[in-house]
Structure formats: structure tokens, C-alpha cells
């Protein structure tokens, strides 16, 4: 059969069509449209009532309308507060001015009602807040951090059940309520949505032609590349345990092939049933060593604290600052020129297909003091509902460069918040570091050990010593 031009043309057209259409479909999947196919389950386009999420419907992944709240309703306005004065206890001195603006507006809307901020630095708050608030009826609204502190307050009977409040159902992203939920009831509003993933200097990466590492091997080789260019690859603040421990989240998220296995290991170590010297934990420790060997960290990293690390990142001496979205405002305050150059990536510590692409956390849990007088409780509840309105939440978010767990907040006024919002579209895990309940007896020594190993200490000896300490802590 003679193949004539027309037939070739037809075949060509067919082939092109066959090749192009999947591409078109793929591209269509990239631009989220309601009802169209999508590729990454769990990805979402934002935190508004008209955002979309990629969900499996009858076996196919399709963009659906996201249901962030308990229903599809829109956020409700705030409650009115009775007259009176209460105290608002929290640990963010850097947010004092923004909170005061929000409080002033609240007081204008509720004449005769006053709220006084009582602030302690976060270290002191962790240590002293319970003692202070437990005996202070006027501390009607306060915050707790996810995990140990929240549990302590819950056990002490200080948290009021606010599950049935309308603003809790309609203004808050429901998945953010997990840290404050006990036996199906909600005892607080986790206000801050953090993304505990490294931030990087996008400008520097672009200028040097570097690519963001997406596997463990790429990460180690990136370190070598950056180091030879005279740049500190990871400005890891190892001297301050609280900040140094953020990367542990990333190591845990992809430590196993499924979440349950990882959680089981963590629980076992937390209660002393599993030792640090077994393979599971040792492999994590060895990865810290590998990062050190690849030159990822600056010299004397165990003396490198949370003043030095963001300073170097802000000065353009370091490529990556591995803490989280909460580090952004520190960096931009140090060097305003960094604003707009910061982006975020998920730290993947495996070479196989990652289970999760990033970490998120919900903390700064606002609660009503169950031991306060009923009037004060009403004021506290009204104040929380005030903070839960999109307008006020937006004020807080943009003013303090943090994401919040409230629906319909528009982050575009803060370019840095906007630049890291793309992480929200990835498959995120709620920070597993907080699965360790025994902070003083187990988690702190464990993190200290990893810090030492990251600083070059011998893996076996450090794990052996720490194991002994943990055993003796658990025995007391």
C-alpha cells in the first residue's frame, strides 16, 4: 500500500493527538478546576471557602470544593462580650503590638470590656504558666502549646469544652483542631498554623543555578556544592535545642513506609520499651552524622545559636535556615532586603518515594479558663471568637508573618507568607516531634544526642550514654 501524504498527515495528526491530549489533561490537572482531574491526593489550593482539594471520588482523583470547616457554611461574626476585665496570657512578646491593635478594636466594639495581655518569654511560659494560671481566676483566656503543656492544663481541669461554639465549627479549619481534641471534644483553638520546613534564599539559588533537593542523595550533594561555593548550606541553630529539634520532624516524617510504624516506634521510645541503640533510631542518628560529614553545617555547629543562624541567613552567608515559617519575620527584621526572596521546601530525608512532603503544626491553642467566673468565661469566649473572624485573623497573620488556622484569610498583603503558601498544596504531616510526650525525660536527652552527633560526636557512644540517661529518667 502506498503511503501518501494525506495518510502520513493523518497518522501524524493522530500521533500528535495521542501525545498532546494526555499533556493537555495533565496541564489541566495542574490548574485546579472544580470537577477536573488532579494528581496529588490531599493537595489543596488554599484556605478559603472557595478553595479546592484533590480527593479520590470513585477511584479517580478529582478537584472538589474543599470543606475546611465543619460544614460548607461561611465564617460567622464574633460574639458580644459582657462588661468586665480579664487577662490574656501568652508567650509571644514579638506579637504584643499586633495583639494590642486587635484588642483595642475588640474593646471599641465592646465598651466596658477590657483585656490585659500578660506575656512571658516562651521558655518561662513553658515552665511557669501552669502554676501561674491554675491559681489565677482572672487569666480567663490563655494559650497552651501542643503536646505536653496542653495535656497538663487538660489534666488540671483548666480547659473549657468549646466544641459546640458556632465559630469553632464555621471559622476554623477543622483539621487544625486535632491537637486540641480529647475524646471527640474540642478544648481550644489552635490559632497558629506553622510550617516547620526549611526556608531557603530563592534569590541565591537562582543566581547560582542550584536546584532545591528532593531526595536524600540530592540533599547531601547540595551541601557539598554550596560549601565549595563558600556558603553555609544549612544554618542549623544547634545550640538552642528548641529550634534545633525542628529538623527532627522532617527526619521522622519519612522514616518508615507508613505513619503507623513511625508512630509506634516513637511511642515505644517515649515509654522506654524501645532503646535508642536499635536500628530504627540509629539510622536517623547516622543521617545526622552524614549531614555533618557532607559539610551541611557550619563549623562548631553546637555553639551556633538562634541569633547566629538567622543572622547568617539574613546576611546571605547561608543558603537554608532549617526551622520554619516562624523564622521568616526574624530574618526580615534583621535584613528587610530579604523580604520577597524567601521560599520554603520540604526536607526529604529518603531516596525512596516520600510518604510526606512537608511538616505542618497547629499550636498556640487558645482556651477559655474553666475555673474563671462565668462572666469572665463569656468575655474570654467572645475574645476568641473575635480572633477567629477572618478580618482579625488576617490582621494577626499579616502583621506577625504567620499563617493561621482560620478560613478566608488573605495572605497577599505579606509577600513572604504568600511565597511559602505553596507548601500548603503538598502532602503534609502534623509535626511528629510532639508525639513524644515525655519531654524532659526522653525527648530532650534524645534531641541533645542528635545535636551532639550532628556536631561530630561518635554515634555509638553518644547513643549509649543517652540511653542510660533516659532509662534512669524513666525509673524515677
Amino acid at each position: 500500500m502506498k503511503i501518501n501524504k494525506n495518510q502520513i498527515g493523518l497518522v501524524a495528526a493522530l500521533v500528535t493527538a495521542l501525545v498532546i491530549s494526555p499533556l493537555t489533561i495533565a496541564r489541566a490537572a495542574d490548574t485546579p478546576t472544580l470537577g477536573r482531574a488532579c494528581s496529588a491526593e490531599g493537595a489543596n489550593t488554599g484556605t478559603s471557602t472557595d478553595s479546592l482539594v484533590c480527593k479520590s471520588v470513585g477511584g479517580k482523583l478529582i478537584w472538589q470544593k474543599v470543606r475546611l470547616g465543619a460544614n460548607y457554611g461561611t465564617p460567622v461574626s464574633a460574639l458580644r462580650a459582657p462588661k468586665g476585665t480579664i487577662e490574656f496570657h501568652h508567650w509571644r512578646p514579638e506579637d504584643k503590638a499586633v495583639f494590642q491593635t486587635i484588642i483595642d478594636k475588640f474593646q471599641d466594639a465592646n465598651p466596658g470590656t477590657t483585656i490585659n495581655q500578660v506575656i512571658m518569654s516562651s521558655v518561662d511560659y513553658t515552665n511557669l504558666a501552669y502554676s501561674k494560671i491554675n491559681t489565677n481566676k482572672k487569666a480567663a483566656v490563655f494559650v497552651t502549646s501542643r503536646g505536653g503543656q496542653f495535656d497538663q492544663f487538660y489534666k488540671g481541669g483548666l480547659l473549657k469544652d468549646i466544641s459546640d461554639q458556632r465559630y469553632m465549627k464555621q471559622n476554623v479549619i477543622q483539621s487544625a483542631l486535632t491537637p486540641a481534641t480529647v475524646s471527640g471534644k474540642v478544648y481550644g483553638l489552635p490559632y497558629q498554623s506553622l510550617f516547620n520546613n526549611p526556608i531557603y534564599n530563592a534569590d541565591m539559588f537562582a543566581k547560582n543555578g542550584w536546584k532545591v533537593p528532593t531526595t536524600w542523595t540530592q540533599l547531601l550533594s547540595f551541601c557539598k556544592t554550596a560549601k565549595s561555593a563558600g556558603i553555609i548550606p544549612f544554618a542549623w541553630p544547634a545550640a538552642t535545642r528548641g529550634n534545633a529539634g525542628q529538623i527532627l520532624n522532617s527526619f521522622l516524617m519519612n522514616a518508615d513506609s507508613n505513619y503507623a510504624t513511625m508512630a509506634a516506634h516513637v511511642a515505644a521510645i517515649d515509654t522506654g520499651k524501645e532503646d535508642l541503640q536499635t536500628d530504627w533510631f540509629k539510622s536517623i542518628a547516622n543521617k545526622y552524622k552524614a549531614m555533618n560529614d557532607a559539610g551541611c553545617f557550619p563549623a562548631n555547629v553546637t555553639g551556633y545559636n538562634d541569633t547566629a543562624a538567622p543572622a547568617d541567613f539574613a546576611a546571605g552567608k547561608a543558603a537554608i535556615y532549617p526551622t520554619g515559617s516562624f523564622g521568616i519575620s526574624t530574618v526580615t527584621k534583621l535584613n528587610p532586603a530579604m523580604s520577597g526572596k524567601i521560599k520554603m521546601f520540604g526536607m526529604i530525608t529518603t531516596d525512596s518515594k516520600p510518604l510526606y512532603e512537608g511538616i505542618t503544626n497547629n499550636t498556640f491553642i487558645l482556651s477559655v479558663n474553666a475555673k474563671a467566673s462565668s462572666t469572665d468565661q463569656k468575655i474570654a469566649n467572645a475574645f476568641i471568637s473575635w480572633l477567629a473572624t477572618p478580618a482579625m485573623a488576617q490582621l494577626y497573620a499579616v502583621g506577625t508573618s504567620q499563617h493561621v488556622s482560620i478560613i478566608n484569610v488573605d495572605y497577599s498583603a505579606n509577600v513572604d507568607l504568600l511565597n511559602v503558601s505553596d507548601i500548603m498544596g503538598k502532602k503534609l504531616l502534623l509535626a511528629p516531634r510532639f508525639l513524644f510526650n515525655n519531654v524532659n525525660g526522653v525527648r530532650n536527652p534524645l534531641e541533645d544526642a542528635l545535636i551532639a552527633i550532628g556536631g561530630g560526636a561518635d554515634v555509638n557512644k553518644t547513643l549509649a550514654d543517652t540511653s542510660k540517661t533516659i532509662k534512669s529518667n524513666l525509673g524515677a
Binding site: L128, G327, K333
Partner: protein, 271 residues
């Protein structure tokens, strides 16, 4: 020869050791966070008063300053009042009661203040003394009585017996002797202890942190907290606050050196 050389060398080294950290703080008052970190010892690029302005504007420093003054002066006054009374009584009691009392008060020297936070806090809540300057003053008195009584008792004990015996022979009661003999004689010790105590009360952080909730009752050290953020510390503001808080101490120190130094030795030295 060697002596003079090593004398000069050692003195200079320690002098430099004192000057360097101090200048970091002093110069830091006029620098930005960034400058402090990158060039801590250099002269500020421009002597910017931004930090000071920010501190006075947002920190509202006049109220904490006033509160610190009230608490410090109040604590020192009452501590010394009670301490001199107790020291006089103990130094005149040549029996077992005196020894027991002295031991009891000295026990306080061995117990660090931080460990009593929770019991004192719970107690104060019951007494409605939290969030009050009076509560702070009471805590300070309790914490500082041991040291004051220790110093004053040793000093009074050192004075020749005759001075007191003369008065009692004349028929003067204990209170007269206390007022007209013991107190005047103890003046150097009291003066120095006063300054010493003032520094301790002025710089105290932990108890005000626990006890004070209201802005209007904050003391000066609590303003330092405002600069220790959750994830990073603003050293520029912190240093500025430290400077402002230290100025009264420095001024007082410069003017009252003699008492400061002589009082420390009172009760320390057996002549």
C-alpha cells in the same frame, strides 16, 4: 621587678576583661540587631537613638521604673529595719536561743530562692497578694533577711561589749540601746548592706515574673522579657533595656562607693 611587671600585666588583663563585655552592651544600645551580631565591638555606624526611642515609646518605661523604685526602696527599708532588730537581739542573747535563732536564719543562706517559687505562689494566691507591689516587697524581705542578719549580727557582735553595757548600767532599756547606740554604730554596715540589697531587689527577675500579671505593676527587669522572643532574641533592644535598667545602679555606685565597699567588709573581718 617581676612583681611590678606581673602586677601591671594581671591588672590590665582583668581590666580589659571587664571593659570588653561592658562595651558590647553600651555600644549595642546604639546599633541594630544585625550590627551587633556582625560587629559587636566596633563603634556604631551611626549613633542611632532608635532603640532608646523604641524602648521609651512602646516599652512605656516610666511605670516599670517607678515600680522598681518603690519595690526596691520598700524592700530594703523594711529588710534592714527587721534585720537590725533581729541582729541586735541575737547579738545580745548569749544563750541557746540566740544560737538557735542565728542558725535558723543562716539556714536561709543555704536554700536557693528559686526552689520556693511554687509554695510561695500558692500561698500568695490564698492571701490575695499576687499582682501587688506589697507582695513583692514581702517576698524580697523574706529572701534577704538571712544575708542581712548574717552580716549585721557579725558586725554588732564585733563591737566592744562595753559600749552596750555602759548604757544598760545607766538604766536604758533594750529599745533605747538599740536606737541610740547600736544603730548609729552599725551605720557603715547598714549603709553598705542597703546598697547591696538594693542591687539584688532592683535586678530580681524570677519572682516578679511569677507574681505580677498587670502591666501597671511590672518592674524594670520584666521589660527585658519583651525582647526575648519565641524564636529569636532582639539583642539591640535587650541591651538598651539593660543599659537603662543599670543606669541608676551605676550612678548610685559611683556616688556611694565608700559605703558599698566598706559595708561588705563589715562583719567579714575580725579586727
Amino acid at each position: 621587678m617581676i612583681f611590678n611587671f606581673s602586677r601591671r600585666l594581671l591588672l590590665s588583663i582583668f581590666a580589659i576583661a571587664v571593659i570588653i563585655p561592658t562595651s558590647i552592651v553600651v555600644l549595642g544600645t546604639f546599633k541594630s540587631d544585625f550590627e551587633i551580631y556582625s560587629k559587636p565591638l566596633a563603634l556604631p555606624k551611626s549613633f542611632s537613638f532608635n532603640n532608646l526611642k523604641a524602648l521609651f515609646d512602646t516599652g512605656n518605661i516610666s511605670t516599670p521604673f517607678k515600680n522598681s523604685v518603690i519595690v526596691s526602696i520598700g524592700s530594703v527599708f523594711f529588710t534592714l529595719l527587721f534585720a537590725t532588730l533581729a541582729a541586735y537581739a541575737i547579738s545580745r542573747m548569749f544563750n541557746i536561743t540566740g544560737k538557735v535563732l542565728f542558725f535558723l536564719f543562716s539556714l536561709g543562706l543555704a536554700i536557693p530562692g528559686q526552689v520556693n517559687i511554687v509554695p510561695i505562689y500558692t500561698l500568695f494566691v490564698k492571701l490575695h497578694l499576687t499582682n501587688s507591689l506589697i507582695g513583692l516587697i514581702l517576698v524580697n524581705i523574706a529572701l534577704n533577711l538571712p544575708l542581712s542578719i548574717f552580716i549585721l549580727t557579725a558586725f554588732l557582735k564585733d563591737l566592744p561589749k562595753e559600749m552596750f553595757e555602759v548604757a544598760s548600767i545607766d538604766g536604758a532599756g533594750h529599745w533605747r540601746v538599740y536606737r541610740s547606740i547600736a544603730l548609729p554604730l552599725a551605720r557603715p554596715a547598714v549603709g553598705a548592706t542597703a546598697i547591696f540589697l538594693f542591687v539584688i531587689c532592683w535586678n530580681d527577675l524570677l519572682y516578679p515574673l511569677m507574681l505580677i500579671n498587670e502591666q501597671s505593676k511590672k518592674t524594670l527587669p520584666l521589660t527585658l522579657i519583651d525582647f526575648r522572643g519565641e524564636f529569636a532574641t532582639s539583642y539591640s533592644m535587650l541591651f538598651t533595656a539593660i543599659m537603662v535598667a543599670s543606669v541608676p545602679m551605676v550612678v548610685m555606685y559611683l556616688f556611694m562607693q565608700k559605703q558599698f565597699q566598706s559595708g561588705l567588709t563589715a562583719g567579714a573581718v575580725k579586727g
